[in-house]
C-alpha cells in the first residue's frame, strides 16, 4: 500500500500530514518545521514524489507537490497508477491543500519572489495553524479528501 499526501509543494502541509501519519511528529510537536524535508524543495522539482517513511501497517507514505492543480493532478495520479496496472486498493491519495493556512500560502508567494527568509517565518506560523486540523484529518483519512 502506498499513500500519497498532496499539497502545493509536497514539502509543507502534506509533509506535516505525512509526518503525523507515520508518527514522526505529534500533534503538540514544538518546532515541527524542523522536520526533515520541510521547505526543502526547488520549484522545478515540484511534482516529484517525496518518500517520508512507513507507517505501522507497512504502508509507504509519500508527499507530492501539485501547486494549485490539486484536482487535476489527483485525477492524473489516479489514472497513471491505474495505467501501471497496480491493483485497486493498493494506493490512496489524500489532498491536504484545503488545510493549507493563509500564512503558508502567502509564504509560497514570498518564496516565489525570492524572499526565502521571510517566507520561512510565514511557513512557521502556518505550521502552527495547520497542525491540529491535519492531526484530525490523519486520524480519519477516509472522510477527508481520500481518493483511490
Amino acid at each position: 500500500m502506498k499513500i500519497f499526501y498532496l499539497c502545493h509543494t509536497g514539502h509543507h502541509t502534506s509533509l506535516l500530514a505525512a509526518a503525523l501519519h507515520t508518527g514522526m511528529i505529534a500533534e503538540n510537536q514544538k518546532n515541527p518545521w524542523r522536520l526533515r524535508g520541510f521547505d526543502d524543495i526547488k520549484s522545478g522539482d515540484i511534482g516529484t514524489p517525496y518518500y517520508v517513511g512507513t507507517d505501522g501497517n507497512d504502508a509507504e507514505i509519500y508527499t507530492i507537490g501539485v501547486w494549485n492543480e490539486n484536482m487535476v493532478m489527483s485525477r492524473t495520479l489516479n489514472d497513471l497508477i491505474n495505467l501501471m496496472e497496480i491493483p485497486r486498493g493498493q494506493w490512496k491519495i489524500v489532498d491536504t491543500t484545503s488545510h493549507a493556512s493563509r500564512w503558508t500560502i502567502f509564504g509560497h508567494s514570498l518564496k516565489r519572489l525570492g524572499f526565502d527568509s521571510l517566507a520561512k517565518m510565514f511557513f512557521k506560523a502556518g505550521v502552527r495553524k495547520e497542525l491540529k486540523g491535519l492531526a484530525a484529518m490523519v486520524k480519519k483519512p477516509d472522510k477527508s479528501g481520500l481518493h483511490h
Binding site: 502506498k2 522545478g44 522539482d45 515540484i46 511534482g47 516529484t48 514524489p49 509507504e60 509519500y62 507530492i64 507537490g65 501539485v66 501547486w67 492543480e69 484536482m71 487535476v72 493532478m73 489527483s74 485525477r75 492524473t76 495520479l77 489514472d79 497513471l80 497508477i81 495505467l83 501501471m84 497496480i86
Partner: protein, 158 residues
Amino acid sequence: MKIIYHCYGGAHSSVTAAAVHLGWLPSDRLPATDELNNLPYFDRPVTQDHGNIRYIGTDDSGNEIFIVGRRNASRIFENLAAGLLEIYAQPKEQFIFIDVMPYVNWKMVLGGFTSRRLGWAWFGRPVIMAGVRYSYWSIVSLVQRVKVCMASGQKELH
C-alpha cells in the same frame, strides 16, 4: 508501450497528435473540418475532464495511445510521471510522454478558451480549426519523430 500525448486541455493539440499517430488524420494533406470534428474528444472536454488520462486507440505496432489535459502543470506532470515510474519500478521505456504544447499557437489558445471556457463553440471552433491547420505539419512531424524514436529504440525524443 503506452504513449501519452499531453497539452493544456486535452481537447485540441494532443487529440490531433494522437489521431495523426493512429492514422485517423492524413499525413500528406491538411485535414478537412469534418475530419477534425469527428475525432473523439476534439473540442469536447471541459474543465472537469482535465487530468483524466483518456485512451484513444492502439497503433499498428500495438502501442496504446492516450491523451491528457494537464493545464499549465507540464513540469509537475512530467516530474510526477517520472517519480511514479520509479516508485512502482516500471520500465521507463514502456511509457512515453509527449508534450504537444510547443506546437500550440495563439489561434488554438483563443479558440480553445472561447469554445471550452466561455462556451462560444460557434466562434471558438472555427478559430481552433484554423489554428490546428496552421500547426498541422509541425504536429505531423512530431508524431513521425515519435514513431522513428520508438522504432529505433531511442529513449528520448530529439
